[in-house]
Amino acid sequence: MKYWLNNWKRRLLIAVAIIGPGIITAVADNDAAGVSTYSMAAATFGYQIFIILIPMTILLAVTQEIGARIAIVAEKGLADLIRERYGVRIALVMYGLLFFVNLAVVIMNVAGLKSALILFGLNPYIFLPAIIVGLFLFVALNSYSIVERFFLLLIVFYGTYIASAFMAKPDWGLAVQSLVVPTGSITPRFLYTAIAVIGTTITAWGQFFINSYVKDKHLTIEQLKYSRLEVYLGAIVTDTLTFFLMVAVAATIFANKLTITNAAGAALAITPFAGQFAGLLFGIGLLFAGLLGCVIVALTTAYAFSEFFGYSGSLDEHFRQSRLFYTTLLVQLVIGTIVALMPNISLFKITLAANFVNGAILPIIFFFLYQFANNEAIMGAHVNNKAQNWMLAISSVIIITSVIVGIVGQLMGW
């Protein structure tokens, strides 16, 4: 019994040590852009949309696990491997694409942050730049472990969606049942929405981020098993949060047949049905989603830059040592803030462009993941098994289809 307890304690310690990358990346997939998409999906289709949550969780878990495994076994990031195996020309093109798509996602997150500030009656022209500068300084001046704790703290605020969901007094039986039993008819508009939800969850930056971030954490091959569990857990936690968010929206906005255009709208629309506090909580959730999203996506670009071009880049290093790394981070945040604060900016067009490039780049990234994860010289005994390769192939097909349908849909105005 004592032995068992010790063993259990030891495992818990390992679990605490490895926790971070999987959960942070996965939850960051529910960034401000994600929260908007989920809100709109649930407002339009109610519980019917819940059917995609479980397949989406599996897709997310599988693709992220491959990225984390490559980082642990090869001790290299995705960008490192692309540069070393495919040369400087392909590396440059990939970096250019990633920079562009990440910038668009950063803009969407800063815009989300802005609408949350407006929701709370705070002047975005004062508070938005202040928050972004503070965020940058915090990340630049603190070590990896402190920044990681900060990210984990931000994730706690996603709990506000759970509270919002309970206050909305939903039909829990129907909500859970909808996860496995398809309801309603499948229309092109439903397909398009479902695909948009998957597209904001499984992202190009997510693939790069999990890889670089795991590498920066210096996990060892003995921790591979636990890291895998952590990545799976991250996917489950993320989509559980998505579930509660959608429940809150479906039980109020959908049930009362209202329409919304973004997450801030959802926070306002919830209030009459679930109470002011629920709306407030929903708004807080959006605020923290924007915070986590903009810093993590900008960080992805910075990691990719230092990997592609070999400059030192780690959260553990001082600004002077990793100057280019932190400069890339800052540039993305500053451009994001400026664009988000422009009065007549069309976020719709930016979203469209970002989705397009994200879609275009994801199959390429999956190709690289496939190549690296099946290369024995890199992975040794930890190469992909057949099931993992099939999952990767299926994911690619789903994502490619989703992107094509998504873009056509947006253009046709479904």
Partner: protein, 402 residues
Amino acid sequence: MLYFAELYGKKVTSADGKAVGRLTDFAFLATDQPLITKLRIDTKVGHILVPISSMKAVNGTIILSPGYETSGVADNELSVRIHLLDQQIIDLKGNKVVRVNDVVIQDKPYFVIAGVDVGMLGIARWLKLEQWLNRQVSYFGTSLRSDFLPWENIQPVELSRGKVQLKREEAKLTKLAPEDLADHLERLSVKNLTKILDLLPNEYEAEVIQNLNVSRQRELLRSIQPKHAASILSLIDPDEAVDILLTLSERRRQIITPLLTEEARARIDYLLSLSTTDIGSLATTDFFTADPEETATSVRRRMKRETTLATPLTYIYVINKKKELVGVCNLHELLLQDGDVPMYKFMIPNVVAVYLTTPPEIAMKKMIKYKIYSLPIINDRRGLLGIVTIDDLVENMQEKLT
């Protein structure tokens, strides 16, 4: 000097002009002298390895000598593309420094890897944008330079383990002491020497040239453009610049001197005017003076502000209103004083000095006797003309001996 980016993909033909394939890689020995041993050619039916001795010319296309042989990879051979190009360079502590953007190959007298290019131009070269980029930048009156990392800095043993590791902790070539690089460069031909120097930032290039031996300096300054020569001379210590100028012909000197920056020209002209004697030719104007009434704090503050670019100073010379040298003080004494003490209170009034006519041997004897590291050179009105430092004197003696 050849760049791998420019050779990669080049057409390879046999001696009779028939196409063989395209050059895609080199095999080299991971040793201190990284000889290139084989070239890899991708043909329509797989690839072949051909010994470098069969490679005849590298103009437009690469021609193989008649009856060339093919072979396999030997155990001690590494590949430029797999083991070197695009790899992460780390320093001794394992910190990431930069990636290998291009590989620099020296082709004479034999094919050997000279080092790697870690700069922007290395990337631009792969995109065939090198010249275009340089043209764009030249509009702004500046030029891009490659960041060249010589092979001496890389640990060959680590390469086969998949690591490009530096021998030292500091990252860049520009942090390699100029004296060390000069030693290495002295072994190259003037043509290759200029090519490598072209890769360096101007200030660093000047320091390296300053450390080359006299005959090398002369050859170099003869072969490069007068304008470039002038810009280098403006950057190096004036006494060294004078030494180099004195090795050139009168005519060449007159072409170069007007091109110097005004400040440098004034100092160099002055030193040239002194250089009629042995001691005069060793003189430098890199010295620091103070007024007898000036306080210790004021001197210390002024040194901090004004002497950042000067070579290390050892003494402060005290000059009165009549421009006479009236005293000297070393840095330690200056540091010991309270802030408000004027210089005349603690300076040494009996200055050991030499004249332009003093032979270097006597100057040396004075230095040894009084344990001083630099001597002021004065005229008969005790006016300070310049100083001569112990390193310049020793160097002068050494040259006389050899």
